[in-house]
């Protein structure tokens, strides 16, 4: 094998025929042309690839590339014309199959031709900027088959008809459909779009426009949405099975526009089944379907949201202004909580926890809760009810959940300071009467308020707890220091309350019975002995007493009464019968309170330890009272109704309101001064805006009130008006 290498080095042309036979090109082309025919006729098996390749190679090498290329175009075109005729001749349903079969054959032939003409593709085509063989074959197919006048429309009609049949529930040959659409895509995206996609979308649009019209006439909203959803899924599935992926967004847009966007208004407001009905009936599935479909179209979600908030505001407004509801505060708040729960659940299960929907919910609640200016009071009453008895037997977590929910409502309140006022009153009553069921729950509520509104908001509430604790210690110290035997004298429990922390009304003390007075004086001496410089005032309107009483037949009972009631009852130790005037003289209890006490002592069935003449429901100034000898009760301990935390009466409400307004004044003034101190000069509108912003965590100040406060500050020379521009205020340091 190494022998030939020993030849001398010589430059020699490659062993091609240097002499060019004039008929060479023609002869070579004939061979290739014959081969192309054979390939199209499925007779290629006998051919030698090497020979064909070599011939094509040599033709290109000897500058007959142009002849080769144009020969190829002519030969292929003639074959395609023949194919076109055979496809045209195919009958009915066989048309697509024939087209598909011929397409596959053409593809295979094209690949073989490309392979043997590889050298031309590599050299001749790029240099002369011709179309490469494979692409050329596709273009020729497109021009001779797809654009053939007898095939173009027939193909489109057949495809659209098949799709239409599938839409009406028939089963069609999806594999064939896929091959044909794939062919259109292979021929270029513009061929697919022009010859199939655009007409397909147009036909679909009119189909769905018609169908949706039909559906909306005969279906309710939920049913319609179900159908629309199914259609949408069908189209998406169709695309995945036999259309171009890029068609998905286009066809879904058609369905969305025709079936949803065009009927949105009507669907949402459909009578008896629209959005409002779904909300009322908690139809999570339908709501979720509506959400998912509507979010596909512009303005869809905002429409749902708007209808929902409008409905919510309307029902909320009815709820908070319904005079029947106002009779029971606990029930009132419970309804609010239930509504909140209901919509929270709808948003989380059906509306994908959409932030915009949550905001809509919050703003709606904020809107209608503040429509009723008793909401702060009622919410506090609800907490009071829960902390007195409602939460008995609940686990710690349950208590937390209830309190958290209340805090949700609290957040919606604009007048948080009003809530504070009421909460303080209710808390005071709970603490002083020892009615609170769980110290932990109370403290937990305080912590929640503190995190929500800051230290300032709860400092007084916490002060109340501290007072309770120190009072206990003080009482222990008091009894430890008393060396004498207490014996028969009454046991005293004093709660020392810091003035200011407690919502107490200074009221003149009533005349205490002598027995009590003695102990009280001893306590006063003890307390002032340890704490110099303090002043003690007795709040007789707030205390309670346990009395041991013996009735006519010797039956003993322990009576649980208020301090006022105790004073009244003690009078009957010395006489059996007293007139109203005598009682008021002896006790010095304010008339309104006295009447209420007497009412609960004499007029409540089963607890009437006093007898009144004449017998009537109300207490008059000239009534007379007798000790009721015949009083019986199956309980040893009898609790005489004390005045529990109740919804305030109208005058009380006015009074509280007034106190709140009074409390707001210094806060507004402080805010104005803070702002002016840093700004020095500011105009009226900006002051109002900034004050509102600073105070909105506690309440919504009234601009008129702010103006009054500004005037008051000018009077006191904190501020002055600008001499030129009267709208400007200037801070006077």
């Amino acid at each position: 094998m190494s022998a030939p290498k020993k030849r001398n080095f010589k430059i020699e042309a490659f062993k091609h025929r240097v002499e060019i036979d004039p008929k060479y090109a023609e002869k070579t082309w004939r061979i290739l042309e014959h081969a192309i025919h054979e390939i199209y006729n499925h007779n290629a098996s006998g051919l030698s690839f090497e020979e064909l390749y070599r011939n094509a190679y040599n033709m290109v090498l000897h500058k007959y590339g142009e002849k080769l290329y144009s020969g190829l175009v002519a030969t292929m075109t003639s074959h395609l014309k023949e194919i076109s005729r055979s496809i045209e001749a195919a009958q009915g349903g066989l048309f697509l199959e024939e087209l598909n079969r011929k397409w596959e054959e053409h593809n295979k032939a094209l690949q073989m031709i490309r392979d043997i003409l590889m050298y031309m593709d590599r050299t001749f085509v790029p240099i002369n900027h011709k179309t490469p063989v494979h692409e050329l074959g596709l273009n020729l197919w497109r021009d001779n088959i797809i654009y053939s006048s007898k095939i173009q429309m027939r193909l489109l009609d057949t495809l659209l008809e098949l799709i239409q049949r599938e839409r009406t529930g028939e089963v069609i040959n999806r594999g064939l459909m896929r091959n044909i659409t794939k062919m259109l895509m292979d021929l270029g995206s513009s061929v697919y779009q022009e010859n199939f996609e655009k007409p397909f979308l147009d036909v679909s649009a009119s189909f769905y426009s018609l169908e949706s019209q039909e559906f909306i006439e005969c279906c309710d909203c939920g049913e319609y949405l179900k159908k629309a959803e199914r259609r949408l899924n069908e189209e998406i599935e169709r695309v995945s099975h036999y259309l171009d992926n890029k068609s998905e967004s286009k066809i879904t847009l058609v369905v969305e526009t025709e079936m949803i966007a065009n009927h949105m208004q009507r669907l949402v407001h459909m009578e008896n089944s629209g959005l409002v009905n779904m909300l009322v009936d908690d139809k999570y599935e339908d709501l979720s379907r509506m959400y998912n479909l509507f979010r596909r179209v512009p303005e869809g979600l905002s429409m749902i949201r708007e209808v929902m908030t409008t409905h919510l505001r309307e029902t909320g407004r009815q709820l908070v202004t319904d005079p029947d509801r106002l009779k029971d505060p606990v029930d009132f708040v419970q309804h609010l909580l239930d509504a909140k729960d209901k919509y929270d659940k709808i948003i989380s299960t059906a509306f994908n926890n959409d932030k915009a929907f949550q905001n809509g919910l919050n703003s709606s609640f904020e809107y209608f809760i503040n429509l009723n200016n008793r909401s702060p009071e009622f919410i506090s009453l609800y907490v009071d009810d829960k902390l007195r008895k409602g939460l008995k037997g609940f686990s710690e977590e349950d208590v937390e959940t209830v309190l958290d929910k209340v805090m949700m409502l609290f957040r919606y309140l604009q007048e948080k300071d009003v809530f504070e006022k009421y909460y303080k009153q209710h808390l005071a009553k709970r603490l002083l009467s020892g009615k609170t069921i769980s110290d932990d729950a109370e403290r937990s509520m305080i912590v929640k308020l503190k995190t929500e509104c800051g230290y300032q908001f709860t400092s007084k509430l916490e002060g109340m707890f501290t007072d309770m604790k120190t009072s206990q210690d003080t009482m222990q110290g008091f009894y430890a220091s008393q060396s004498f035997d207490t014996g028969d004298s009454p046991t005293l429990a004093v709660q020392v309350l810091t003035t200011g922390s407690w919502p107490t009304q200074p009221s003149p003390p009533c005349n205490l019975p002598a027995e009590i007075l003695g102990v009280c004086e001893r306590f006063r001496a003890f307390y002032l002995g340890t704490h110099t410089g303090r002043r003690l005032t007795w709040q007789t309107n707030m205390g309670t007493a346990d009395l041991k009483a013996t009735f006519g037949k010797g039956q003993k009972h322990e009576l649980n009464v208020s301090t006022y009631q105790m004073c009244i009852l003690m009078l009957f130790n010395s006489s059996d019968h007293l007139s109203y005037k005598e009682i008021i003289q002896a006790t010095n209890i304010p008339a309104a309170d006295l009447k209420r006490c007497l009412q609960s002592l004499a007029c409540v069935k089963g607890k009437n330890v006093l007898r009144k003449e004449p017998m009537s429901k109300d207490i008059a100034e000239d009534d007379a009272f007798y000790f009721n000898d015949k009083f019986t009760s199956k309980f040893f301990k009898v609790k005489i109704g004390t005045v529990v935390a109740q919804k305030e009466s109208e005058p009380e409400k006015q009074e509280t309101r007034q106190r709140v307004e009074e409390d707001r004044k210094p806060q507004i003034e402080a805010a104005i001064v803070r702002i002016m101190k840093s700004r020095r000069v500011l105009d009226h509108n900006n002051i109002v805006a900034e004050v509102t912003k600073q105070l909105q965590a506690r309440f919504l100040p009234n601009p008129v009130v702010i103006k009054k406060r500004i005037e008051s500050l000018i009077e006191r020379e904190f501020l002055e008006r600008d001499k030129v521009d009267r709208k400007l205020y200037r801070y006077l340091a």
Binding site: M1, P4, K5, R7, N8, F9, K10, I11, E12, F14, K15, H16, I39, A44, S45, G46, L47, S48, F49, E50, Y53, R54, Y57, K108, A109, Q111, M112, D115, I116, M118, Y119, R122
Partner: protein
Amino acid sequence: MEGTTKKAEMVKLISAEGFEFVIDKQAAMVSQTIRNMLTSPGGFSETQQGQVTFPEISTHILEKICQYFYWSLQFASGKETEFHIEPEITLDLMMAANYLHLGRAQSIAQDYKLRAREQCGFFGKASK
């Protein structure tokens, strides 16, 4: 059985003079042209018989080509050695490489040819 499978993996390349080279199909398919000949879907005679005749490639060039196939496989798997070409066959080899669509072989041969020409020029000058 083993024989047939082995046969299927081997192909026969025949030179202009009728010399037969039996090499791995994998090696022969380094050439895009031979790959097409052996795999084109139409059932050409080369695909059926597993052999290719090259009436325009002489034995010693085809031998070099076969060597190149194996060298190329090794080169592709990371063993980068030099492929040596005798100066007197560079031109023929270039032509054959062009025919067989062996881009790298063509450029290697071209390098050798240029180098040979430079050396000639150098010697030429020295002898003057």
